[in-house]
């Protein structure tokens, strides 16, 4: 029996496969002394906590893990934790890009009903505007973006072309910074 997956599922499956295998193989690369389920689980919990803290504080994983007995564990699992940080950065940047590309002017993806109504009506219903402001205030920008995109198709083309590339550059910049800090701390 041949199962046909949707396009979205195929792409997500590839990403999931790569992420899981990369995580597994990086765990293989750590020192044998640190093998063991309890250590792995403990480190994962610790890592998650550290990642959460660092996301809140805006610092990096390794710079905040330099105290007590955590240091040696963090060093041993540095690859895995660094990859985790990379993945989280990627997800965060991906969400930002998604928000940008799902702008109604690009006619890309589903929006909430309030946004669709606001997009179709010119001028927008004041009630919709009020609701939209509650939702995050993106509506006022939407009008301007729609008009600009209609006047300049090249702008629309450029935005839809190089945004993913720009996101990649930002990601790479984040990696460079993370590794520089790792090098300094190490």
């Amino acid at each position: 029996m041949v199962v046909r997956l949707s396009r979205r599922r195929v792409l997500l499956s590839i990403l999931a496969l790569y992420s899981l295998l990369a995580l597994f193989l990086s765990l293989l690369a750590v020192k044998p002394a640190f093998y063991g389920l309890s250590t792995v689980l403990g480190t994962m919990i610790l890592g998650t906590t550290v990642l959460g803290t660092t996301m809140m504080l805006g610092t990096t994983v390794l710079s905040s893990a330099l105290f007590g007995t955590t240091t040696i564990v963090i060093e041993a699992y540095a690859d895995a934790l660094t990859m985790g940080q990379m993945a989280m950065s990627l997800v965060a940047i991906g969400l930002l890009v998604f928000l940008e590309l799902s702008d109604p002017s690009l006619e890309r993806t589903r929006r909430s009903r309030a946004h669709v109504i606001a997009y179709r009506r010119l001028p927008p219903d004041p009630a919709v505007v009020r609701r939209s402001v509650k939702l995050g205030g993106r509506l006022s920008a939407t009008r301007t973006t729609v008009e600009t995109a209609q006047k300049t198709p090249a702008l629309k083309e450029l935005r839809s072309s190089w945004l993913p590339v720009t996101a990649l550059l930002v990601l790479l910049f984040a990696i460079i910074v993370a590794f520089k800090i790792w090098a300094i701390v190490g």
Binding site: V2, R7, R8, V10, L11, I14, L15, L17, Y18, S19, L21, A22, L25, S26, L28, A29, P32, D79, A80, T82, M83, M86, L90, G94, V97, L101, A154, E157, L158, S160, S161, W162, L163, P164, V165, A167, L168, L169, L171, L172, I175, I176, F179, W182, A183, G186
Partner: protein, 320 residues
Amino acid sequence: MFLDFLALRKFPFDLALTSATLVAVSTLAYSVLYAVWGFTYELFFFSIIVFAVVGLLTLFLKGLRGSVVVRLLYVVAVLALFEEILLRSALAWYGFLLASVGLVFLPLVGAVLAGRGTDVRVVFEVCGLLFATRIVLSPLPTNLQGSAAFLPVVYTLIMCAIVMYLWFRRIPLDKIGLCQGVVSLPYQVVGGVAVGGVLGLVEHFILGPSPVEIGANVVINFLYLLVVMMVFVGLTEELLFRGLLQSYFGGLMSRWQAVHLSSLIFALFHIGWLNPMEVVFAYCAGVVFGYFFIKTGGLVAPVVAHGFGNVVLYMLALGL
């Protein structure tokens, strides 16, 4: 059925002649120069330049003179050549700079030329992605490079970029070979393993590499090689060079010219081994993978051949 898959009766002699010319001229030039001077970096770089120039010249003489777009593709190939050479020289920083230029400006060129069709735009954006694969490598620290996590990390990052691109650009997955293809899977796998085995033997003869060792455990070493080479290296590179590059080149030129040009760029991205014969070998392997891709309509056979070839190469090096 299996003979149909090989389709020797319909073998593209035009492509074979072009490839043979390129391989013969490059090998001869390198052999003569090597006999006279012995191995030097200057000789290596000169041989690679000869290889790229002859490769592009054969394409030009075979009739691909065409439009602005095609000329720009020649420029992309030359950019890849110098970026790779600089990246492996004492002027690595300039190589990194060229890669950044390729990454940022090629998608912009695609956007400017978008009026000429979707294929044109995608071709330049994918060329930009090629350079992104080099920038991914640059910031990684040296202590990670010896680690078993290095290849998975690098290829996961590259695959993230590719998937993100496929997602936003809504590239049809059937077109880039992410489907079963027109030949049954067992035939594709058997064909891929057979050809990959031979390619691995030849590449081991050329390179004789010293591989990354995970530990003394033979099973873990083998599993690591299998997963890394088949999934990370095989799938990522084939998706990039055959799935995206060759497919969309095919919209701008004949499919055999597309095989030739994508294989040429694929070979240029193997300059890092610092062995001219490895570059020529990578070109030949690219032609074989491209031929598989056209004949099967999917990436299974190229991925299996590519991945298994690498597995054989490293298994021989490990003495497994």
